[in-house]
Amino acid sequence: MRILIKTGRVLDPGKTDLVADMLIIDGKIADIQPPGSQALSQSSVDTEIDATGCIVSPGLIDMHVHLREPGHEYKETIESGIQAAAAGGFTAICCMPNTSPVNDNAQITRYIVDKAASFNAVRVFPVGAISVGLEGAQMAEIGEMKSAGIVAVSDDGRPVVDSLLMRRAIEYAEGTGILVISHCEDPYLSDGAMNEGPFATRLGLSGIPNASESIMVMRDIALSELTGCRVHFAHVSTRESIEAIRAAKQKGIRVSAETAPHYFMLTDNAVAAYDTHAKMNPPLRSEKDRLAVCEALADGTIDVIATDHAPHAMLDKAVEFDLAANGIIGLETALPLALSLVQKGVISMEQLLFKMSANPAGIIGLKSTLDIGESADITIIDPDRVFTYKADSGRSKSRNTPFDGWEFKGCAICTMVNGRIVYRV
């Protein structure tokens, strides 16, 4: 099987940036040559992709996805989730353990790994639970789950309230070669439905203050400093968390951080008339926080853009605001939303690719490369393609997004995993 990607801007940030033809043979990147070069055009190919005006990038990686299988297949299955990922330009995703049953043991991990592999499409790397049943009481069998295929542990959806458990988890996980992802939230302070502030007060909804997040960020920075072990912060949303992470990094503490597109695109005024598509955890914050998130993306304090793709059926969302489920889908909108930051000059295209491929790869221990001889996990991005996003025509089983009907500029036009085309416009 030979695929020729013609005249794309081959962009492996920090390493390669040139307009070239790329030849893929049997799943591997075989050659990269100047456009129209004799060496490539002479060889016969099975598929030719015209990438003129497009970026040929290492495959995008989303390190924060909820796939809902096993247990909540009416919201999303592994199959529908990886289809949505492929359409969004992702060649690899990490799925969070808050399924039913929880991915807190090797059997569940193996189930997810095997099921995902059976579709031979986007790579799925499960994240195991830190604690049994996400209950924050007893450490899960992190080593056994690692053998079965997890790349990280997290109690995502819930914080680890017990500071001793968190300390032991990051120590133990480090010894197993596993990353700990912290869902930073003080549950005592976060008993609310949206961001604390004038909008919540006007709507009569109880508020979740910024401090509910930054308190936990600061605690886990302290634990990382104490133990010397790595901690990764999920879905960072507040300026205080960002300041703490920035200071920690300057001190050499081994922390990394991600944010989600909604935190750099939207604020708490999106809740407006009790729109449950603007309900997530952490909640959409103030404009000051949104600007701080943009700044942190630009200066590198935030390493990763991840979706926190959280599918929910209408049944879970078309209810009273305080009873509605938290979260939105994001796999098919993350890249266009991130590209809007490039268009506004907030970050460069290289930074975008770092944050959506090389950085998450480095943090979890995956590959993100366009080197000759490596597996062809490639995303071809057309940065100029204008389209209207319709949630109804999305690949995800769920439709819970505040971006329905938005006009976007730029998206993935081809996603390739191990030289196999899993999505093409």
């Binding site: 008993d191 007060t201 006007r202 009569g204 909804l205 508020g207 008339a273 009790y274 009273e320 605001f321």
Partner: protein
Amino acid sequence: MTWTKKDILDIESLSRDEITMLLETASGLKEISERSIKKVPTLRGKTIVLFFMEPSTRTRISFDIAAKRLSADSISISASTSSIVKGETLIDTARNIEAMRPDILVIRHSSAGAPHLIAKHLSVSVVNAGDGMHAHPTQALLDMLSVREVKKEISGLNVAIVGDIAHSRVARSNIIGFSRMGAHVTIAGPPTMIPAGIEALGTTVAASVDAAIENADVIMMLRIQKERQKRFLMPSEREYAVRYGLNKSRLACIRPDALIMHPGPINRGVEIAPEAADGPNSIILEQVTNGVALRMAVFYLLAGGVRNADSD
């Protein structure tokens, strides 16, 4: 001016003219309740459903009496008799009620925004009878009606609202309503009960209860809602009564013509002393009387009653 709104969901969505129209209509209808035969045929053949997902006797009775005085058929559905307890969603329950063709659906619900959710999905007129901590528009309107009766003009008055502002839909609706009508609204209470950014609704936060009430034309005391209290808002009712209640010593410092109000039910000796609740400045019972007239006006305008019909 003619009434054009389908629903009354909150004070925020009512213009100054609409509020005035509601108050004037209520003033006109009030006399019906003074007659020996307290009933006019205005809304004969109209059906009003009182859908109370949160327990409330007083407000429900007030709506019920208002409907009956206009000859509408009213029926009450409470949380325990509705299908919500059987797992039906709010929208489904509301759609089922609508399928029986009521003209007006009055809803009280513990979730902020629940009436808005229903109004979005249904074509029947929706009246919010209190949603979570968000809004209680008919209470604010009857409060404005009560003040206007005595003071003639709302514009220019100093209104003090004291107590648990954070958890009070009455406070939110009154802040917005009175400030929209031109009054200066000041709030006071323990800092734990003052929500973030409340100034944006059109009020200033006083440094103390004394500062809020000393020059007030209207003093509105809020009920300390024990049932909705979250933890740690105050040390004790005893301390609250001393530091934030309208007690005897504070009563001595208010303006002689100040009106004392309370949305009820009152906790005697906690947020309000008996001397204040029962004294000459109190219009607390007048508020209750006006509640019926105001709710009659709401039904009258929403059901498109003919103005002549009520003067039989």
